[in-house]
Amino acid sequence: MIRHVMGIEGTYPLLLVVWLAPLVGAICCGFAGPVLKRGAGWLASASVGVTFVAALLSWADATAVRDGAVGAHQALFAWTHGIRFGLLLDPLALVWVLVITGVGFLIHLYSIGYMAGDRLFARFFAYMNLFVFAMLTLVLSDDFVGLLIGWGLVGLASYLLIGFWFERPSAVAAARKAFVINVVGDVAIMLAIFIMIARIGSAGFGDVFAAAPSLGNALFPICIFLFIGAAAKSAQVPLHTWLPDAMEGPTPVSALIHAATMVTAGVYLVARCAPLWNASSDAQLLVGTVGGLTALLGAILGTSQWDIKRILAYSTMSQIGYMIMGVGVGAYAAGVAHFLMHAFFKALLFLGAGIVIHTLAGEQDIRRMGGLRQRMPLAFWGMLAGVLAICGIPGFSGFFSKDAVIQGALDHGHPWLYGTGIVAAGITAYYMFRMFLVAFAGEFRGSLPPARLGFHPEVHAVHGHDEAEHPPAWIMGAPVALLTIPSVAAGWIMAGRPSPWERLMSLQFAVPAHLHAPLPEAATSALVLVMVAAGIGIAWVRYGGHRSAEEAADRLRAEAAGMPAILRTAFYFDVAIDALIVRPAQALGTFAARVLEPHVVDGTVREVVHVTRWFGDAVRSFQTGLVRAYVVVVVAGVACVLLYYVLVGGMTR
């Protein structure tokens, strides 16, 4: 049933180009930044573009089936304990590589405009290329150790880029938080690898998946640890709290890392390990449930935010919840498809938001926007396409993939997740249109005094480098325009029976033979559409129509004031983590510093010192320094021994 046996050894040098081009770019931008100046942006974009083209050229080989194995393989080298590194490009990896480099290329171009004038322009692109390299390492590795290396490196790149504007304490704190939570996941994956090596003697994908059915009671812990890693990286409940804070990074970073690619690494991991999950229905239930819960929670939290990027962050979390739910229940093709569509429309939304933020000199609070439709037509139309896509309006990309995920939950026998998905889809439509209408409809409110809008100006973040409002450069507009196309139209690859997408994915994932579908897809789509229409309708009633700036401001202030505490604190997750983990850890540290260190550790050492000194004092008088006295002692000792033998008679044979 596992169609891809990945123990194959191959030689496919093009994969090395795919893999290493961004690393070369990162090294050049990192070390030759002052020389390259503006060229660093173009060089970095070119290195990602080269990778994209190389990956496209590999398409035919990546989807070719030879000896029952699909994909192109390039062996690298062997390490200890039978760990062999290699690169594998199969359809699953291909989808990720194309998104990482394709969307990544557009975001690199966009960054040239967005980061223009930043003091650390070249360093930014070095980090971005490093991220792309790390992400490619993650998805191209053919064993878990290589995957973990990429996993750690993307965490590092994410850390560096969230904290890119390191003069801001909030950015540094957010970067640290993201890194720490991600390390929780790294350690979990490491534990899973330890179990694999102990039980199977290998961490290669092929070996592990071949052994999956015979793992017995080791299978569930492996799945759990892998999923903890996936949850930390993909911001699944309860390890999601770093993602909204990660919006402290520059907006292109949010678009590339915290929307399109890195945060979907968890989806990749679950999809990659499909044979493990297929063998453990308990693990599948857990993954699906966490995904569904995250989809719902993220959507609910998205309704309560005012920062445009935090709204998008919660929306990302929610959409990844859908993907995790899809791959968790076994609807791999649907989950991966939703990753693809989401990468398009969420990158589009973030880049559109970036134009808004850039033009408004760093303003991120939607209460201080309004009426942007006339001022920023490109951002308006781009984001409208993105919003319609994420809501799942028929014909747009999100419609195909989200409905497939929701339908997949039902087909694989999880009616509760099915219901959760439908409800979350309605809430998604509500909060996306809330954001869209508050920001783009009505009249501009940015010139109103902040108090009128009910918040204190010092608490909201400011864009790193801009002082004045200015229109976006063409290089920021082009990626937005280009991303609009797949956001609208990419869904059609999932149309038809069997669709092109299904044919591609069937190379990777065995299609389940018999699924009971209690409801046809059309009924699911209808249910979702009713919810979506309701969500849009409520948003329209509350935020739509034409109101004066003052009237809208009063309404928004009232909404902010009436926000229940449970939403303002994002379901108390930060509070709970603080109380359950951070405070006990600090208390333990204080205990160690005040009690353990001085009294136990130092105390022991001090006691040893005391005893030694006392003993030394006791015996030092023997050391007279008088050689002849020593001789007397030696002779006396020998005499005693002799006396013993004479008296007791030990000398006799």
Partner: protein
């Protein structure tokens, strides 16, 4: 046989007393040499009596070690003399605890 053992015992006793009572390190080294050779006499005497060559071999080994010991001992004496301009062992007691 008895004479050999008696001679050896006497030599050894002279050596021990010499090391214990004399303060000149050169004399002390000579006394130690006496003790080595008291042991050698026993080795050789018993080797001849019991027709076992191991004793003879051991005597050579002892001579070798004694030579090394004497070399080190004399070197120490020279160093002490250079440092303190005297060779009185009772005065050289900086290692007193």
């Amino acid at each position: 046989m008895t004479q050999y053992v008696a001679l050896s015992a006497v030599l050894f006793f002279i050596g021990v007393v010499g090391v214990m009572l004399r303060r000149n390190p050169l004399v002390m080294l000579m006394s130690i040499e006496l003790m080595w050779n008291a042991a050698n006499i026993l080795f050789v005497a018993f080797a001849r009596t019991w027709l076992n060559d191991a004793g003879q071999v051991f005597a050579f080994l002892v001579i070798t070690v004694a030579a090394a010991e004497a070399a080190i001992g004399l070197a120490i004496v020279v160093v002490v003399f250079r440092d303190a301009r005297h060779v009185d062992v009772d005065e050289a007691r900086i290692l007193k605890g």
